[in-house]
Structure formats: C-alpha cells, structure tokens
C-alpha cells in the first residue's frame, strides 16, 4: 500500500463490500468464506502488524458509522433533561463483528489458535482506551458494548464438548476485560460490568475447564472492587456509584446462588479490597457455603459446634494468604515468633509495622495497611489450627490422654498471645481492623470459623478494658443489623456471646448505655432466636 491514507481507503472499500454481503443474509456461507479467502490472499490475515492496522481501521469505520448524527434537542423548559441517549445504528457494528467471528472461526494461525482473537481484542482495547482518553465525558460506550455482546454470543458456545477452545476464547475476553477495567477506562464501567456478568460469559468462564477460569474471574471482580473502594468508604453515594454498587450486589447474588464455592474460595482476596464500611456486600461473600453442605440452624438450643464433621476441615483459600506478609518481609519473623516466643521482640514494634507511611495513608483512607493486617491475622490463625490438629493427631495416635474436642488453649497460647497483644496495644482504629480481620473468617462450618470464633470470644472474656469488649460487640453487631444474608459463623458466635454466662454479656454497662441500644440488642438477640 502506497501510504497510510491509501491503506485506509482500501480498507473502507473492503468494509463496504462486506457490509453489502451482510445486507443480503440469504447469501450462503460460501460468499462469506470466499471473501475471507480474498483477505488472506491480500495478506491481511497473517497475524502481523498489517493485520493489526487492518482491524484497527475496520473497528474505527464500524464505530464511526454506528453513531447517528446528534439530534439537536432544544432545551425543554427550565430543567434541561439530560440529552437523550444518542441513537446507535447497529448494522455496521453487527457486520464487523460477524466478519471477526467468521475470521476467527475459519482462519487458523497454527497451534495457538486463539492468537488472532487475542490480536483483534488487543486492537479493540487500544481503540477504546484511546477513544475514551480523547473524548472524555463525550465518550460513547454503547457501540463498543454492542461489539462485545455480539462476539460473546457468536464466539462462546456452551458446547462442553469443545471445552478447550471455549476456554481459550473465554480467557481471551477475560484478559481484554482486565485491560479495559474501570480504573483504566472509567467511562466504560457500566458496559464493562454488564459484559463481565453476561450470561454468555460469567457462567461459562466459571463452569469450563474444571474451575481453571476462576482466577480470571476473581481478577475481574477485584478490578471492580478496587475501582469502587474509594467511593464506598463513605456512606453517602452519588447516583452513578450507587447504581454500580447495586449492580455489583446483583452479580454477587447470582454468584452466591449459582457459584457459592467460587465466593468461598476467594473470600480472603475480596475482603482486602472491600472497605470495612461495605458490611452488607462483604456479608454476601462471607455467607457463601458449599452447595453440598447443610448448615444447622444457629439458634438450635445446645448446638454442639465441635461435633460437626465439617468443623475440623480447613476451608480452601485460593489466594496466597501470606503474600502481604512476604511483601513486608514479615513472614519469617512471624514464623520465628510462633516457634520461639520466649525473649522475642517481635511484638514490641508490631503495631508500627502495620501502619502505612503517611502519604499512602491519605490515599488508602486509613492509617493501617489493611491487607497486611488481614494477612497477619489469617496466617497466624492457620498456623495455630494446623498446630492444634497436629497435636490432636499425635495425641490420638499415642492415645495417652483423652483430649476434649474443645479448643485446648495451652496449645495455641502463642497465637492467642499475639492476638491479645494486638487487641490490647492497638488504638481504636487498629483494633477495629484486627477484629474485622478475625470476624471475616466467621463463615460456614470449617476449622477457621471454629478457631476464630473461639479467639474472638476468648479475647472478649480475657479483656481487661471494657472498651475492648464494646468494640468486639460492635464488630459483630454491625454485621448483624444490616439486611440479610448473615454468615453462619457470625450468628453462632454472637449467640454464644449473649447466651453463655461465662461472658456475662448482659451485665456489661455498654449493653444498657441508652434505651435504643438496649432495644437494639434485644431485637438482634430475638432475631438470633
């Protein structure tokens, strides 16, 4: 091609030819395949940079022809209605998406078949980012939304016989959506969430290839939570972020209902990016439990949690719990302290280690490194549970002592000492985050729920200052007074707290500090049975 302009003209001619073919649907597939052979003969489908430029130009043409020139709307009366949505003519986009689907299905670039699709998606992602950067508030997301919806309909099949190809296609889209995440293209956020949660994408990615698609979808959810996090920290939400928040709740409810194991396995990574104030949304995730599990009613009188079969089974956690600890070079120190606590100075400056540098604190909206706090709490707890189960196995192997199924305090005193030290030495905010990290493990019956339920009650019983007991109560209560769902482990812990005379809960002054507080406790106690 002589020049870029010449190239553009040639592409425009080719595109209008293709649109004419599409305009006569009765034409058989042979016309489509003949056209594609022509493109191959012109060297446009080799997968090189000419291919990139070819699809770049085609995409711009398809989008440009889809926007119906803006109708000029005279201001109606005083309140200028937001200008009605620009009309979109789908024909050029539907034709282009059909060309891409035909090319991807018929042109084989060799073993890594997905590469042509990857290329086209990469080009499309580049165009969307460029268009959004240039147009800013006048960027129109809908033509690109239509393009992707067409591709999802045409390129993903639920034919599980072709799981392998399907997986390549679905992960190609997942990578494209990750590139186009709301933090990168905020003006495409609503279209993005609708595509990511679309019935042609989300369920297929989660159901294909034995859960291999789960990490891809987990990454997309984290992308969404990271975008919303700064705005969700406050209680007041503007209309746009409120709509995005409600949309996220709908998607989480579909996941809770259809793919609860996915939420179970990735809860830890989601709690890192959901602000503590998002109690209900976090509850949706923490309420998930495996579909084959039957949860005993938490208000069953004399419910023996220890005797549940699942209570000694560790939950699957698909993200690396100690990642944040390693990033701060703290993992070795924690391990050292848990092995040899005598004379260790680890606890003396632990609080300092959990603080964020001032500049980061401003951006994060909190003085503490929340992911590090979460990582420390869960990691230490997991070590304690493993130690416990190891000791139990030894004990039953030697069969010397008939060990009660109860948590045997002395075997986990190091971990407990660490939690007690944190709760006693931290300031209000720090203590809140520690207690939150513990409460985030109160889920369905498993060994972590069991351990952390014990720990938070133990900390309540051993606290020497009433403010600690008040704050533990606050952390549990604020998760119970929001609308359902409520995690099973949270309910059984709160019921134990208010029922077991060992904690003499109702004698604490803060349960009577005001009439409405008293009423609140009674109503929550009643709703817990």
């Amino acid at each position: 091609f002589a020049s870029a302009a010449d190239f553009q003209d040639k592409v425009a001619v080719l595109f209008s030819e293709w649109c004419q073919i599409c305009d006569h649907p009765a034409m058989g597939d042979s016309v489509y395949s003949h056209y594609i052979v022509q493109l191959q003969q012109n060297g446009l489908l080799k997968g090189d940079d000419v291919t990139d430029r070819f699809f770049f130009s085609l995409t711009e043409l398809a989008i440009a022809h889809s926007i119906v020139p803006e109708q000029t709307i005279a201001p109606t009366g005083l309140s200028q209605q937001p200008s009605p949505q620009q009309q979109i003519s789908y024909f050029s986009i539907d034709s282009y998406s059909k060309l891409v689907a035909s090319v991807v299905k018929s042109v084989d670039l060799g073993p890594n078949k997905g590469s042509l699709l990857h290329k086209i998606l990469a080009v499309t992602a580049r165009i969307i980012q460029k268009d959004a950067e240039e147009k800013k508030v006048s960027f129109n997301p809908r033509p690109y939304f239509r393009l992707f919806i067409n591709w999802l309909n045409e390129l993903t099949t639920s034919d599980l016989h072709h799981d392998g190809t399907n997986f390549q296609v679905l992960t190609a889209f997942a990578n494209a959506f990750h590139i186009l995440q709301p933090l990168r293209v905020p003006a495409w956020s609503f279209a993005w969430l609708e595509l990511v949660s679309h019935r042609c994408f989300m369920p297929k990615l989660l159901m294909c290839n034995l859960q291999k698609g789960w990490p891809f979808f987990q990454r997309l959810l984290v992308d969404l939570f990271k975008f919303m996090e700064p705005y969700l920290r406050n209680a007041e939400l503007g209309q746009p972020i409120l709509l995005l928040y409600k949309g996220t709740l709908r998607v989480l409810l579909v996941l809770l209902h259809d793919f609860p194991e996915f939420l179970c396995d990735y809860h830890f990574s989601f709690c890192d990016v959901i602000p503590p104030s998002c109690i209900q949304m976090r509850n949706v995730i923490l309420s998930a439990f495996p579909r084959n599990m039957r949860l005993p009613d938490p208000s069953t009188p004399n419910l023996k949690i220890d005797l549940l079969a699942e209570i000694s089974i560790a939950p699957r956690i698909m993200t690396d719990v100690d990642g944040a600890l390693k990033a701060k070079q703290m993992k070795a120190q924690v391990d050292e302290y848990l092995k040899r606590p005598e004379g260790s100075l680890f606890l003396t400056d632990l609080k300092q280690k959990l603080l964020l540098p001032q500049n980061e604190a401003n951006v994060a909206g909190t003085r503490y490194n929340v992911p590090l706090v979460n990582s420390l709490v869960l990691y230490v707890g997991m070590q304690a549970v493993q130690q416990l189960q190891q000791n139990k196995a030894n004990a039953s192997a030697s069969a010397q002592i008939n060990q009660s199924p109860q948590m045997d305090i002395f075997q986990i005193e190091t971990a407990t000492e660490l939690f007690r030290n944190l709760v006693m030495t931290m300031d209000t905010e720090g203590r809140y985050l520690i207690l939150n990290a513990i409460a985030n493990q109160l889920r369905y019956p498993n060994s972590h729920t069991h351990y952390f339920s014990f720990i938070i009650l133990y900390l309540f019983a051993e606290a020497t200052q009433e403010i600690v007991q008040e704050q533990i109560t606050r952390v549990l209560l604020e998760r119970l007074i929001v609308n359902r769902p409520h995690p099973w482990g949270l309910l059984i812990t709160f019921i134990e707290l208010i029922k077991n005379p060992r904690y003499s809960f109702w004698t604490r002054s803060f349960t009577h500090c005001a009439p409405e507080i008293e009423k609140l406790f009674e109503s929550v106690a009643r709703s817990c049975g």
């Binding site: 969430l193 709908r250 409810l253 509850n283 609308n483």
Partner: protein, 44 residues
C-alpha cells in the same frame, strides 16, 4: 442498614440457576430473547 436484597429482582430461592436469565446488573427484569441453547453437531 444495606438494601433488602430480595428487592433486586432476583429469585434467590429459585431451584434453577439464576445466571440463565440474568438480564443485566441494572435491571430487575429477567433476560429477554432466546436463552442460551446448544445443539449437538450430530443433530444437523
């Protein structure tokens, strides 16, 4: 106190999967149009 999640248009007690008719994060309505189906190639 959060939202009454049963008002978001999803039948959370449904015995069927919700994703098949999940229309959009912005609407309470189930999806329109042909639900997802696939035909074994031997049927052709």
């Amino acid at each position: 106190l959060g939202i009454d999640l049963t008002t978001l248009g999803l039948n959370l007690n449904s015995p069927d999967n919700l994703y098949k008719t999940f229309g959009s994060p912005w609407s309470n309505e189930p999806a329109k149009g042909d639900p997802d189906f696939h035909i074994p190639s031997c049927y052709f």
